[in-house]
């Protein structure tokens, strides 16, 4: 497939190199000619020196035939504008961008764009690692509002029903691993020492889940 990448900084150049090495056609746009040096010698794609908001530059980069556009320039506003133009004016099927400033992350949501809020994501992650060290998520959904986490069952919960862990709208136990086997718990299933339980949990309720599981910080 053909990809257009706006911004040849660390993120843009790394993405460009990876997709190029996997055989995709890549055009990278950056207005700083020096940024080209971030691409590896063997890079087989195209580097276009130009302004990612200039329609002619976007067309030269092949946006009209692109399968994907990645907006990772150093300007949040540029990323939002070019991502929206790619989706709405050029009908690019896959559009992803980056917003660094957490105060501006809402633009992505308001416009229905897939924008990775890098600072917010990093802050959430670090906060979780320190505050909820035993609850490192297996997976996050949306912009991190909902998580899938796995945790060993503390001894004091042995013999209780799995369903007792559920809090409607906040915490839901969805899977129990025991002795190398995994089951989806039925209403009457009880917990045993050594079980590892998967929970779907709202990010705001991680503290509540942690107190269920008896976690303490720092440990």
């Amino acid at each position: 497939m053909h990809l257009v990448i706006i911004g040849c900084g660390r993120t843009g150049s790394t993405l460009a190199a990876r997709f190029d090495s996997e055989g995709d056609s890549v055009s990278v746009v950056d207005d700083d000619p020096q940024s080209r040096r971030r691409l590896p010698d063997e890079f087989g794609g195209e580097f276009i020196e130009g302004d990612g908001l200039d329609r002619q530059v976007l067309e030269a980069a092949g946006i009209e035939d692109a399968e994907a556009l990645i907006a990772v320039s150093s300007s949040d506003a540029t990323n939002v504008v070019v991502a929206r133009a790619a989706r709405d004016l050029f009908h690019v099927p896959h559009v992803v961008g980056r917003i660094d400033d957490p105060a501006r992350a809402q633009f992505g949501v308001d416009l229905g764009l897939t924008m990775i809020a890098t600072v917010r994501t990093t802050v959430d992650r670090v906060h979780r690692m320190l505050r909820h060290p035993r609850l490192e998520p297996e997976r996050t959904f949306g912009n991190g509002e909902t998580l899938l986490v796995r945790a060993p069952v503390p001894d004091y919960l042995a013999g209780r029903k799995v369903a007792e862990l559920d809090v409607p709208g906040e915490i839901q136990a969805v899977e129990v691993s025991r002795g190398g086997h995994s089951t989806i718990p039925a209403g009457t299933a009880t917990l045993q020492t050594g079980d590892v339980v998967s929970f779907v949990v709202a990010a705001a309720s991680l503290g509540r889940l942690r107190s269920f599981l008896g976690g303490r910080w720092p440990q």
Partner: protein
């Protein structure tokens, strides 16, 4: 009018000062606290903050203001500020500065921009355009009876200049109520040929402002609504 100008660079400051001199209430928004200090005592309100964040525009008077002028030196910033002003703060009019002509294609109603202006023109021209709405300003909301009163200013580039009010070609639902010349209201029939500086009061329907604007400024490139409005 109550006007918020985002961006206190050279152009933004000039626009703001000229708008104050013309009798408007103006609040400048800029990220740089140093700029705010420099602008103290010039009759301007100043808010330090990111104009692309709703809370900042709100603090600048967003919910009471008539016009937002997005006037930073960066075009994508002007676009996201315009969108925020229109969608979240519901500014009745949004005017955005286009710094680089290669970006003009982006400045349209999809970003909430009513009029796109370039800083290349003379300051006076810029002000005329910056207040784009000042040419057709909604003066009173008579929407309860399905009407609004707007004021259109005859500028040097207006198609109305030198014409009779009866020959303007206003929509048949629109009514030119009076002409204001040298600060006095005169009957439309007594006004004879319209002159630069005249202001024409027009009663129209809500949403009819664009049509009035077209009568007065048919060639107004960069004013979306003239040709792009979905019908």
């Amino acid at each position: 009018m109550n006007i918020v100008v985002a961006g206190a660079g050279t152009v933004g400051t000039q626009v703001a000062v000229a708008l104050v001199d013309a009798g408007n209430t103006v609040t400048l928004v800029d990220l740089d606290p140093g700029r705010a200090a420099q602008l103290a005592g010039r009759g301007l309100g100043v808010v330090v903050g990111d104009a692309a964040v709703a809370a900042t525009l709100e603090e600048a008077g967003g919910l009471r203001a008539d016009v937002l002028v997005a006037c930073t030196g960066q075009d994508p910033e002007n676009l996201v500020i315009s969108l925020l002003a229109r969608r979240r703060l519901e500014f009745p009019r949004v005017v955005a500065r286009v710094k680089d002509e290669r970006h003009r294609w982006l400045f349209d109603e999809t970003w909430g921009v009513d009029a796109a202006i370039s800083s290349a023109g003379s300051l006076v021209h810029l002000i005329e355009e910056a207040t784009g709405s000042a040419r057709t300003v909604r003066l009173a909301d008579l929407s309860a009876v399905g009407l609004v009163l707007v004021e259109a200013t005859v500028g040097a580039t207006s198609a109305a200049r030198g014409r009779l009010v009866t020959d303007l070609g206003l929509d048949r639902h629109d009514l030119a109520a009076a002409v204001i010349r040298h600060g006095r209201s005169i009957p439309t029939t007594a006004a004879r040929q319209l002159r630069v500086g005249d202001r024409v009061l027009v009663i129209t329907r809500p949403g009819g402002e664009d049509g009035v604007q077209r009568v007065f400024y048919p060639d107004d490139a960069g004013t979306p609504g003239a040709s792009d409005a979905p019908s």
